[in-house]
Amino acid sequence: MSPSATEPALLVDDLVVRFGELEAVGGVSFAVGQGEVFGLLGPNGAGKTTTIRVLTTLLPPTSGRARVAGFDVRTESLAVRASIGYIPQAISVDGALTAFENLDFYGQVTGVPRGVRRERIAQAVETMGLAPMLDRLARTLSGGMLRRLEIATALLNRPAVLFLDEPTVGLDPTARQLVWEHLQAMREEEATTILVTTHLMEEAERHCDRVGVIDRGRLVEQGEPAELLERHHSDSLEEVFTEVTGRPIGELASDEEGRLADVRAQRSVARRLG
C-alpha cells in the first residue's frame, strides 16, 4: 500500500469526532488531489478546526479514516507529521525570538537536516518576502508579516500538505491579499497541496480550486467555486451557504460558541494580529 501518483494528497472517509455527547464532526468525506487548494468553509464551531486537528494527528478520530500524503493518521501518525506543515489559527511563532530564529527553530524541530537548513530558510524567506524583517523580534511584526513568517516556518520541511487554519483572520484586506499572493507563488514553485479553513466566502471563491461547505459537523456541499455558484444559481458563496444550510453564515447557535478560554485566546490573537 505505497502512495501512488494517483492516491489523493488528502483522503477523508466518513470521519466522525465526538467529545462525549457532542458530535463535533459527523461523517465528513472528501478528497483533495495533489497540488490542489481546498477550502473548508463554515462558521466558527462548524467543525473545521476539529477536522484539521484529526488530519494533523492532534486528535484521534472517533470513527472513519483519514489519510494524509498516503499515510493513515491513526496508524502512521509519525509519518503524517513528518509530511505536513501546520499553522494553527492562534499565533505559533515565538514573539521573543527574531524572524530568523523562529525559522531556524522550526527548521530544527521539523527535522530539516543542518546541511540544507540555511538554504531552505533562504528559499522560504524569498517566497514569503521576509528578507527585510529577518532580524526583527517577531513581536514587533505586523499581523500580515507574522502570518507570512508562520507560513515560511511551515515550508522548510517541504511539506506534501500544508494546513492553514483561518490564515487571514484579523488581517486587513491588503495584508490578506499579500498573504494569498505569496501562497500562490509558493504553489507555483512547489505544487504543495493546501487545505485552508476560512469563514470568508469571498476569499475562498477567489483563491481555492475547490471548496467544501461544512456546517454543524457535516459537509453539506463541495465542488469548484464556479460550479457551486451555477448549481445554486447564486452570485456568491455566501448565498450558496445560506441556500444549503438554510441560514446566513455568521449566525451561531449559542452552544457552538466554545469555552471561555478558546474565545479569550482567539480574541487575544486577533488583537495581536490586528
Binding site: 521573543a96 524541530v109 527535522g111
Partner: protein
C-alpha cells in the same frame, strides 16, 4: 485498510518522508537542543529578565542571610551563615524558575505554539525534555550569576572545578524535575490565574520544608518528616556538600540518586499527562 501491516505509527522504510531519515534518538536530541537554543536566544534578547529574577535570591542571601548570621541563631561552627545559605538560595531560585515554566507552557497553549509542536515529528517526550532544557538554560544562567556574586562578596565557598561542575549538574537535574512537575500542574489546572495560586501554594511549603534555610536538626519532628521526603532537601544537601563541604548525611551520590529518581518519575508522568492533556 487491507494491508495495515505496519501496526506501528511509523510507515515502512522505503516510503518514509525525508524528515524521518534520522533515528528517533537523533531527532529527540535535535529537538531538545533546538528548544534549549531558542531559550538561550530569548535570554540574549532580554538580559533584564535575568537581572530582575536575581533580585529575590540576592535579598535572601544578603538581607535574610546577614540578619540570621549576625544573630548567631544557628550554630554552624566556623561556617558563615551566608555560605551555608548560598546553596539553598541557589536551589530555590532554580526551583522558582522551573515551577513558573508551567505558566509559559499554558501561555503557549493559549497561543498556537503547543499545537504546532505537537504536529511536528518530535515525540512527546522530546517536547517535555525540550521544555526542561529551556528551564535549565535559565536556571544555569542565574546560578552562574549567583556564583559570580558569591565570588565578589568573598563568601566562603569551596572553589573546586569538580564542585562547581557537580553543582551545576545537580541544579540541572533538580530544575528539570521541577519543570516536569510544573508541566503536570499546568496539565491539571490549564488556566493561568489558577496556576499562579497553586504554584505559590506548592512552592513556598517546598522551600520552607527543606534544608534550604536551616538544617534538618533544628526542625520539629513533623517538619523534619516532611523535609525528609522533599526532593528539594536532597538537592540542597548535594549542593551544600559540593559548594561548602557541609551536608546532611554527607553522601553526595545519594542526593544525586534521589533527585535523579524524582526527575525520572516526573519526566515519565509529564510525558504521559502533558502535552495532550493541555490541548
Amino acid at each position: 485498510m487491507s494491508a495495515r501491516s505496519a501496526a506501528s505509527p511509523v510507515a515502512s522504510a522505503e516510503r518514509l518522508p525525508a524528515a524521518l531519515s534520522t533515528g528517533p534518538l537523533t531527532r529527540m536530541a535535535m529537538g531538545t537542543l533546538a528548544m534549549a537554543q531558542a531559550e538561550m536566544r530569548k535570554l540574549r534578547h532580554d538580559h533584564l529578565d535575568i537581572i530582575t529574577r536575581s533580585v529575590q535570591p540576592l535579598l535572601w542571601l544578603f538581607i535574610f542571610g546577614t540578619a540570621v548570621g549576625n544573630s548567631r541563631l544557628l550554630r554552624l561552627g566556623s561556617l558563615e551563615y551566608r555560605a551555608y545559605l548560598a546553596p539553598g538560595v541557589m536551589a530555590q531560585a532554580a526551583m522558582f524558575i522551573a515551577i513558573f515554566f508551567g505558566l509559559a507552557v499554558i501561555w503557549e497553549r493559549d497561543v498556537g505554539q503547543l499545537q504546532r509542536l505537537l504536529a511536528t515529528p518530535l515525540s512527546r517526550s522530546s517536547i517535555v525534555l525540550g521544555k526542561c532544557a529551556g528551564a535549565c538554560v535559565r536556571a544555569l544562567t542565574q546560578a552562574l550569576l549567583l556564583l559570580a556574586v558569591l565570588a565578589v562578596a568573598r563568601i566562603d565557598i569551596r572553589w573546586s572545578a569538580v564542585g562547581i561542575v557537580g553543582t551545576l549538574a545537580m541544579l540541572m537535574l533538580g530544575t528539570a524535575a521541577f519543570a516536569c512537575m510544573s508541566m503536570l500542574l499546568a496539565a491539571a489546572v490549564k488556566e493561568r490565574e489558577r496556576f499562579m495560586g497553586i504554584g505559590q501554594l506548592i512552592m513556598m511549603p517546598l522551600f520552607f520544608a527543606s534544608s534550604a534555610l536551616y538544617p534538618l536538626s533544628i526542625m520539629p519532628p513533623w517538619l523534619r518528616a516532611i523535609a525528609t521526603v522533599n526532593p528539594l532537601t536532597y538537592e540542597v544537601q548535594g549542593l551544600r556538600q559540593m559548594l561548602v563541604g557541609v551536608g546532611g548525611a554527607g553522601v553526595v551520590w545519594l542526593d544525586f540518586l534521589v533527585v535523579g529518581a524524582f526527575f525520572a518519575v516526573m519526566l515519565w508522568a509529564a510525558t504521559r499527562a502533558y502535552p495532550k492533556a493541555i490541548l
